[in-house]
Symmetry: C2
Subunit: 142 residues, 2 copies
């Protein structure tokens, strides 16, 4: 009985440690995503996506693959800056896939800048030791 309790405790600890590690990893990746986007480095942003990733932008059709994703973010970053992402929920599955629900704020590059408030769902997939964005969709609150 004691062994079973210890085993169960170890599994819970393992699961929560794994989850906390994944959360910390995703946090860092989101920081890197924002930093790259905010300095207009669309190539660095695109490199964070899986080879077969799909991005579903608000206001235009979905795009797939590195080149199209890079072009998309290059275009968006001409109009938007100061992007901040806030994770609201992160659900992991077997440490190989996760989905994240979050909110996003940004400012337009118009004069004067307008606040943009939106939200997103991102599916992350682990490839070897690194996590990549596999699906990325967002929309605006207004």
């Amino acid at each position: 009985m004691t062994r079973i309790v210890l085993l169960a405790a170890a599994l819970v600890l393992y699961a929560s440690t794994g989850m906390a590690q994944t959360k910390a990893t995703i946090d860092k990746l989101n920081d890197a995503w924002c930093a790259a986007f905010n300095k207009g480095d669309a190539a660095a942003v695109a490199n964070m996506y899986a080879d077969d990733a799909t991005v579903l932008p608000s206001g235009s059709p979905m795009v797939k693959g590195h080149t199209a994703i890079q072009d998309l973010w290059a275009k968006v970053s001409k109009d938007l800056g100061d992007i901040k992402l806030t994770t609201v929920e992160l659900h992991t599955m077997g440490e190989v896939m996760a989905y994240e629900i979050g909110t996003v704020t940004a400012k337009t590059k118009a004069s004067p800048p307008q606040d943009v408030v939106g939200k997103y769902v991102v599916v992350w997939k682990r490839s070897g030791t690194s996590w990549k964005l596999a699906a990325d969709i967002f929309n605006m609150d207004k």
Copy 2:
């Protein structure tokens, strides 16, 4: 060697059968979702979501839980009808979680009706023998 090949073939068959079954299940659920939505049965739509599901509608903040989800779809169905969902990609993970990328068409209830074209990402989770929507986000192409 033959045994390993047979085992590998059996695993591929199992995986592809599981995937095909999941695809067929999700197709049926999407048909049921559309049928319920198109007849304005927001309660039936809401029942297809997991208890902790989040819906992230275009144009308003995210909502969570059955009551809020039912209220959302009741409101949306006043303005939109003839919804059709088309799965573009379905990725399953361990037969317990899947994410779906798709396109949506609908018609406004204005006179004359306007065509609406959009896309979505849905995260599905299996609860016992049934699949439920866990996250649902969509946006418009224009």
